[in-house]
Amino acid sequence: MEPDHERELVERCRRGEVGAFEELVDQYKNLVFAMIMRTLPDRSNAEDVAQDVFLRIHRGLPYFRGEARLSTWIYRIVVNVCTQDRGRGTPPLSLDDADARVSTPAAVDRHAENLELRDRLEKAIAQLPAQYRLLIAAHYLRGVQYEELAEAMGLPLGTVKTQLHRAKRQLRVLLETDLK
């Protein structure tokens, strides 16, 4: 969304214009939901968490000063919601659990192999710290910039890049045998 359109939408929401906040939800629901789905280890309550994000946006809009872009502020709320108590205490998933390590016969097709690999990738991502999961989730969503992520997380740009780099290295180590 263009910055001018963002500002106008925020103003309309603040004035309490009918339908303005609904428009905001429609604009950002895909991004918010995708980030949450990719970040939370337990996806069954992703809709609740996404609604929490919009509830916080609704409460916070009167205090939003517009110093950052609306999208950056929304990312920050997603970061806060995802890194709070949710996701903590999630038992680490084993990449070698029985379901994941079904031995595939030699004749199994490439598609099935890819599906298994994707499943193992998701399990490996779930083992990363919440901050790393979020970075991996957001960085590979179209339209999310490094700079916005850094601002949303309150981290220097270099730190965000380093953390993303470390997250990917951890994933490569976790999936070492699968990626060969």
Binding site: E22, K29, A34, R38, E47, R118, H165, R172, K180
Partner: protein
């Protein structure tokens, strides 16, 4: 730090296209099977991450979110109303207590007791005259209370 350490440190950046390997690194990657394998793994990981499916929210997400926001807002308004009413009652009690104190200090309470007797007599007379119509008044009051109850219930879900 060995050449392998340097290269292994950079494979993610090379795989994502953020770093172009210099001549020395490129030469190392052609001769070191371990580093070449790590780069291949990093490239495969990069491709997998780019292909990760993007989950879409459920079809009713916006309407359900708006309903939740309305409920939260209604609850907040109820709390504010309740606090306002409590403050109002407290102020009324304090004003009444103040007036009573002023009246008792200025000797007006003796006059007040006579006035209260007069008021009680008048109330009894009114009740005696109105009593035949009491069922009608009770019915009207019940209807009014029901209407207010229905309005309160309906506003709970539609208010924003």
């Amino acid at each position: 730090m060995t050449m392998c350490d340097d290269v292994l440190d950079a494979v993610e950046l090379i795989a994502s296209g953020e770093l172009t390997p210099d001549e020395q690194t490129a030469a190392h990657l052609t001769t070191c099977a371990s580093c070449a394998s790590a780069l291949e793994a990093a490239r495969r990981l990069e491709a997998l991450l780019r292909q990760r499916p993007v989950a879409a929210p459920p079809p009713q997400f916006t309407s359900r979110t708006m309903a939740r926001i309305r409920r939260a807002r209604w609850r907040n308004e109820q709390v504010i109303d309740w606090v306002f009413n409590v403050v109002l009652v407290a102020v009324a009690v304090m004003v009444a207590a103040g007036l009573w104190t002023i009246a008792s200090r200025s000797g007006l309470t003796s006059v007040n007791s006579e006035a209260l007797d007069l008021l009680a007599t008048a109330t009894k007379t009114i009740v005696r005259r109105v009593s035949p119509s009491l069922p009608l008044y009770a019915l009207a009051t019940a209807l009014l209370v029901s209407a207010l109850g229905i309005w309160w219930w309906a506003e709970r879900d539609t208010a924003i």
